[in-house]
Symmetry: C2
Subunit: 156 residues, 2 copies
């Protein structure tokens, strides 16, 4: 598993070299922190995480700057649900789709090979796909149950 961290570090180093950016400790600390997180995170969560648990302290400005590099290096991807930008590591991660509950806002992930293939194999004229995001909106099991309960109560 540390293999992944080592690999992304190498990829990032190569990216920085090719693009003539400096290899600062902040940048590597941020990459490491991101690849230590599970699932989605926003800038504020990452900032707190690095403030509290980790040895390395960086400013929000540096987080925003570095995120741009990591996106460009395709080591993370950006999502936009809720109010803030959410990010997610992308190296060695299975492509997955997102279920977003419109009642409670909870975001969960699911995999579906058929869908994955259908999308990946779609031919578009005059457009070259690099990646995609599929967001499915609806009601999660918990909120569906709550709705049923409310409806029942009204009938009493």
């Amino acid at each position: 598993m540390d293999n992944v961290k080592d690999t992304v570090k190498q990829i990032f180093t190569e990216y920085l070299r090719v693009n003539k950016h400096r290899k600062t400790p902040e940048r590597y600390a941020i990459l490491d922190a991101i690849y230590s997180m599970d699932g989605h995170f926003d800038i504020d969560t990452l900032y707190s995480q690095m403030m509290n648990e980790e040895k390395f302290r960086v400013s929000r400005a540096t987080l925003y700057n570095t995120i741009i590099l990591l996106l460009d290096a395709k080591l993370i991807i950006k999502h936009l649900f809720g109010n803030t930008s959410q990010y997610e590591k992308s190296y060695n991660i299975e492509t997955h789709h997102h279920l977003i509950c419109t009642v409670c806002g909870k975001v969960s992930e699911f995999q579906n090979e058929g869908l994955k293939n259908a999308i990946a194999n779609t031919q578009m004229k005059r457009f070259q796909m690099s990646h995609y995001s599929l967001y499915i909106y609806g009601t999660c099991a918990k909120c569906a149950a709550m709705k049923r309960r409310q409806r029942k109560n009204k009938q009493l």
Copy 2:
């Protein structure tokens, strides 16, 4: 085509009645303005549109309030690309997917029946789908051409 405007007005009226909201002229003016727009728009665009061209003037706060109702009534859908929330009328509109150019940011739409069916027919456990958004990121033809040109120039 005015048929659509009439129909959404009826749907909205019914929605307001059921949910015990008032039928204010502002709300109908906003609905009308939205169904007069083509493609995506953000709050600011809608605000300017109603300020300049239309007879009815509403505040931003009212726009935000009304947007929430229209989302709930499923008369519009919300997208999150770029920096601002984008909205789009959804009644009587063909489901479509979005191509987003990561170079120039241009958003275009495309239809694909196979994809549409594949997604609509996906069975998810413990989740009830109401709608979905598929965003495909990549490089548009224009930016791809520009990239090729830049690469050629470097070689000289």
